[in-house]
């Protein structure tokens, strides 16, 4: 009973509705709009409609209310306070909440777990705006807002977006500031907020650099999206399509000089299963352990496959003869929602979340759903698989269908003509070079993806045409061969000193196995269009590319301008540094940097000790000075008297400021006679000292005073203690 009553009375005191000024309401609304805008790309259109409706409704209502109040009270906006109106009755809000949650639950399958959760969060945020009767609700609203804004970073992490979100997070605090200082001007509030925000940067940076990066505590629903970039099955024409995209695929910074353009073959995956139309990754036999790229695998399953992939690595590494100097670089891959990683041959990475498949391609143990950075060391001179296993040889000679009879016949003819494998290769490449083959982004269509038709009739194609038919020829001629897809080259950004590789750099080439030399890269494109390999797109190709990829609003004119190029390069360089140092700041990197800092500290030990001792000295001097100011400006006798007063005050005998020392002594004599003997002695000492000219007292006398004072102080303290304990 008593409890209930208490609660009721508590409620009563709380019921006083929170009054806010209209500045506050508009601030809340604007911030809600901005917070939700950060996630706008992820929202389902239904929710978008709902949120828009809610905000407009609230806005219209508050405009009306603010006007009304302005008219009646005719004061400034900051003064006119009113409690939040009840726009919707609470039962309606409840119904809305329930229907909304049910709707999200139903749509959950379509949206995926993460997006459903985001929707639920934002839905709650939208509804919360209807009910702000108490200060507590404003707090909740602000925290929700910050959470909504922050969660948008799961999806996008570019520098400008991130900075905007960080600003927005701080802007959310404006509401709280306004809650406590409603009358100060917006500019002053913004200034204060900015100041506090700036102050909090240094410590945050220290934490970011120094606080250990932890691995994920548990599995979280990942971002789901359509895959971007190369896919694990390539048909004729796929790469030509991909090459129209100007999207960024990944960026690389080399620790030393970057290799030549023609050496930049970024292996993404190896396709060794050809059914006559499509190149796929092998699903059977020895390669089965490396299927982790398949999406939608259960966690358990992928665990297993990672395990076997690792196992294979250890076996297969025996087949690699590592030679020559390594090239170290860092790759920052953009989210592709697949698992392929990109690296030069022969790539090794010490990162635990990066694995290597038996075909020497690197993969990420999971789905790359956000920007990911990894460190690689490549050995370009390494010999890949000097010996080939029987199964592997079998696999790379398979010609599953016979729908390209003319190529098959040509291969057999070549085999008869040349004994030497490399002679066959050279012959085919020479033919590509000399026989009027064209390298183009717009190849003529082929019936049923027939390689025969391309090779013998149309003779115009993009890299996958050449690589595909070359590989087919080789297999038909009995040379183990396979197709490799990845990227070629990249664009060097001189202001950021890094290489950007775009989707338009997508490329396909062949790999053949020669005894003792292992897997050899053969790029038929080099025979057709050497410029593509040496420098990138030729001007013809560029022209084609721009014609095909430009939409309605061509930026061609702008793109051609020098200053725009420069400007863009600067911006991209900035974004790259952000990606590299903030987004790509992994635990490994942190480890390295901390070690560097420690090492530099050690090398500069002397200087460090000096600095430390200086700081300690400065602190000590500062402390001593402060003490001096406090204490020693007075003589020891005065100090003793003051100490006595403090002692008395602790025992509830307080000297009023207006009392003189004499008066206080009398007061004590009257009220606490037992103390008066000691205290009057102390007072006498003090008065003797302070009211006699300093010259008249000699040292000896002073010392005498001091000893009496100390003696009586001790006595007084003893008496006070006795009194406190009740002994007189």
């Amino acid at each position: 009973m008593a409890n209930i009553k208490k609660r009721q009375s508590k409620n009563n005191s709380d019921i006083k509705a929170l009054m806010l000024n209209s500045k506050m309401y508009f601030g809340l609304l604007a911030l809600q709009l901005l917070n939700l805008l950060t996630l706008v790309l992820q929202f389902h259109w239904l929710y978008l409609l709902f949120a828009f409706f809610v905000i407009t409704l609230q806005f219209a209502l508050h405009v009306k209310l603010a006007r009304k109040h302005l008219k009646t009270s005719s004061t400034s906006i900051a003064d006119n306070q009113y409690s939040a109106p009840k726009i919707l009755p609470s039962w309606l809000i409840l119904i809305l909440a329930i229907t909304g949650s049910v709707g999200i639950a139903i749509g959950g399958k379509e949206l995926g777990l993460l997006l459903s959760m985001v929707h639920l969060l934002c839905f709650a945020y939208s509804l919360k705006m209807f009910e702000i009767p108490k200060r507590k609700d404003v707090y909740q609203l602000v925290v929700l807002g910050i959470f909504v804004a922050t969660s948008s970073l799961i999806f996008i992490q570019s520098i400008y977006f991130s900075l905007a979100v960080i600003l927005l997070v701080f802007a959310n605090f404006y509401v709280l500031l306004n809650l406590f200082a409603p009358k100060s001007a917006v500019s002053a509030q913004a200034k204060l907020l900015g100041k506090l925000g700036l102050y909090s940067i240094p410590f945050a940076v220290v934490l970011f650099v120094g606080f250990p990066k932890l691995s994920p505590f548990w599995e979280v629903p990942s971002v789901k999206s359509a895959t971007v970039g190369l896919s694990d099955s390539v048909k004729i024409g796929d790469i030509a399509n991909l090459a129209l995209s100007n999207e960024l695929a990944f960026r690389v910074s080399f620790e030393e000089n970057s290799p030549k353009h023609s050496q930049l073959y970024w292996r993404a995956m190896v396709l060794d299963d050809f059914d006559g139309i499509t190149w796929r990754q092998d699903q059977r036999g020895s390669g089965h352990g490396a299927q982790q790229g398949q999406r939608g695998q259960s966690n358990q399953r992928s665990q297993n496959t990672y395990g076997s992939a690792r196992l294979e690595n250890s076996i297969n590494s025996a087949y690699v003869d590592v030679r020559g100097a390594g090239v170290s670089y860092q790759v920052i891959a953009e989210p592709s929602f697949q698992s392929w990683l990109f690296a030069l041959d022969f790539a090794t990475s010490e990162q635990s979340d990066v694995g290597r498949r038996s075909d020497f391609a690197l993969f990420y143990r999971g789905i790359i759903s956000q920007t990911m950075s990894y460190q690689v060391t490549s050995y370009p001179e390494a010999v890949l698989a000097p010996r080939l296993s029987r199964a592997s040889r079998q696999l790379n000679l398979t010609l599953s269908t016979q729908n390209n009879p003319r190529l098959l016949a040509k291969a057999q003819q070549l085999r008869q003509r040349y004994q030497d494998d490399s002679a066959i290769v050279n012959h085919v490449l020479a033919e590509f070079n000399q026989n009027n083959y064209f390298y183009t982004l717009q190849p003529p269509g082929l019936n049923n993806n027939s390689l025969d038709q391309f090779y013998f009739d149309t003779r115009a194609g993009f890299c996958e045409h050449y690589a595909s038919s070359f590989t087919y020829l080789m297999r038909a001629a009995g040379i183990p061969a396979r197709m490799v897809v990845g990227y070629l080259g990249g664009e060097f950004n001189s202001s950021g000193n890094y290489l950007s590789v775009y989707q338009r750099n997508a490329h396909a080439w062949s790999e053949i196995w020669l005894p003792d030399r292992g897997w050899q890269r053969v790029d038929p494109t080099a025979a057709v269009d050497p410029e593509r390999v040496e420098r990138g797109f030729s001007s013809n190709l560029m022209q084609e590319h721009s014609n095909l990829s430009s939409g309605l609003f061509s930026m061609q004119a702008l793109r051609a301008m020098q200053w725009y190029k420069q400007f863009k390069m600067q911006i991209e360089a900035l974004d790259y540094q952000w990606t590299r140092w903030v987004i790509g700041y992994t635990g490994q990197k942190q480890h390295r940097i901390m070690a560097q800092i420690l090492a530099s500290l050690k090398s500069g030990k002397q200087a460090f000790y000096w600095l430390m001792s200086l700081v300690v000295l400065a602190l000590f001097v500062g402390w001593f000075k402060q003490r001096k100011v406090k204490g020693s400006s007075q003589h020891k006798i005065t100090q003793g008297y003051l100490n006595t007063l403090t002692l008395l005050a602790q025992h509830n005998v307080v000297k009023e400021k207006s009392m003189t020392a004499q008066q206080f002594a009398k007061y004590i004599e009257k009220n606490r006679p037992e103390l008066s003997a000691s205290f009057s002695a102390i007072t006498a000492c003090f008065e003797q000292f302070s009211y006699q000219a300093a010259a008249q007292i000699n040292e000896q006398q002073l010392a005498e005073y001091l000893t009496t004072l100390k003696l009586h102080y001790r006595r007084l303290r003893w008496q006070l203690w006795l009194a406190k304990l009740g002994i007189h």
Partner: protein, 348 residues
């Protein structure tokens, strides 16, 4: 039933501990912040604790950190660090919002029990402060009183301008007497409601709480509601116990020790006319309010009646003298005299 019993056992266990802690805290506070009519607050006497929102905000930051870590998303982790460091900056900021304020209070306060009075404080500051609230730390008595009254218990200054400002802090007088004024609680949640910065200052001032003025109970039952008449009756009754009137001296002797029963009896016997008769007689003499001649009742009741009489006399500008068992205050009708008499009641 069981629940209630449990409750009582629990409270019986807890309340002494609580009281003990409170006492220890107060002792500590006296040592930490000694009293004085002029005080300046700084790092020695400002305390900062996170509010409930502040505590939940820490959990929110942890949540963000978890989110960032689980998604291996450095930007979210960075934001959680930024918020964490912002939290610490705000801690300092809320300290500086109070630090350096000077207070001066040199007036003691007086008033009747259960009434609300204002304690004036002069605040001087060198920069603008926000959202500083002042209240008295009245603890249990306050909650008891606020349940009945809806008067404000604190003054909140939204924006404290530079310079001197005069602030009145509401104080509910709880019990009669002359005692030290409790500490003034000065607090601010400015910043963002994350922290509560507070200090309790003892301005070494006194409260003189006069007994609560209460009209005679028997007079009220007799004359239901008519205020003016009641007043008259009260006065007349007091007057009836004046010394110096010969007839009454004898009566007094006769009725010694039981004045109330005598009056009640007479009332029943004579009806309403008796009182007015006495009143007319008294007007000629000097009015003396005598504690000993009051009807029987508890000490507090008697004092309350006297308090009512003094208040009433002062309002009607009737001169009177006061006689308490331990002191006598001479005949006068100045306001100072009234205050003196009331103070005597308070101290008694």
């Amino acid at each position: 039933m069981l629940n209630r019993q449990k409750n009582s056992v629990f409270s019986a266990l807890v309340s002494p501990i609580k009281a003990f802690m409170q006492r220890r805290f107060n002792v500590w506070l006296t040592r930490r912040i000694p009293q004085g009519s002029e005080q300046r607050i700084n790092h020695r006497n400002i305390f900062i604790v996170p509010t409930r929102f502040g505590i939940s905000f820490v959990f929110f930051i942890l949540l963000l950190f978890l989110l960032g870590t689980n998604y291996q998303n450095n930007v979210i982790i960075l934001i959680s660090y930024l918020l964490g460091s912002f939290y610490i900056v705000v801690l300092n900021h809320s300290f500086f919002n109070l630090s350096g304020l000077r207070f001066q209070a040199s007036n003691s306060i007086q008033g009747f029990v259960d009434s609300q009075v204002y304690f004036p404080i002069v605040v001087s500051n060198s920069k603008t402060r926000f959202n500083v609230s002042f209240s008295f730390d009245q603890g249990a008595e306050l909650t008891k009183l606020t349940a009945q009254q809806t008067k404000p218990t604190q003054t909140t200054i939204e924006q404290l301008a530079v310079g001197e400002s005069h602030i009145k802090v509401p104080y509910l007088i709880g019990k009669r007497g002359h005692y030290a004024l409790s500490r003034v609680l000065i607090r601010s949640e400015f910043g963002f409601g994350l922290f509560k910065a507070w200090t309790r200052l003892d301005f070494a001032q006194q409260v003189t709480a006069y007994p609560k003025p209460i009209a005679y109970a028997w007079a009220e039952t007799q004359q239901d509601g008519d205020a003016e008449k009641i007043e008259n009756k009260v006065e007349s009754h007091q007057d009836s116990f004046q010394a110096g009137q010969d007839e009454f001296h004898q009566l007094q002797h006769y009725q010694l020790g039981e004045p109330y029963s005598r009056v009640a009896w007479k009332q029943v016997a004579r009806g309403q006319g008796w009182l007015t008769k006495q009143y007319q007689k008294v007007l000629s003499g000097k009015l003396q309010l005598d504690f000993d001649h009051l009807p029987s009742g508890t000490l507090e009741q008697r004092l309350s009646w006297l308090s009512y009489a003094i208040k009433d006399c002062s309002e009607q500008q009737i001169a009177f003298s006061l006689k308490l068992p331990n002191q006598t205050i001479a005949y006068d009708n100045s306001p100072q005299h009234t205050l003196k008499c009331l103070a005597a009641l308070a101290r008694y």
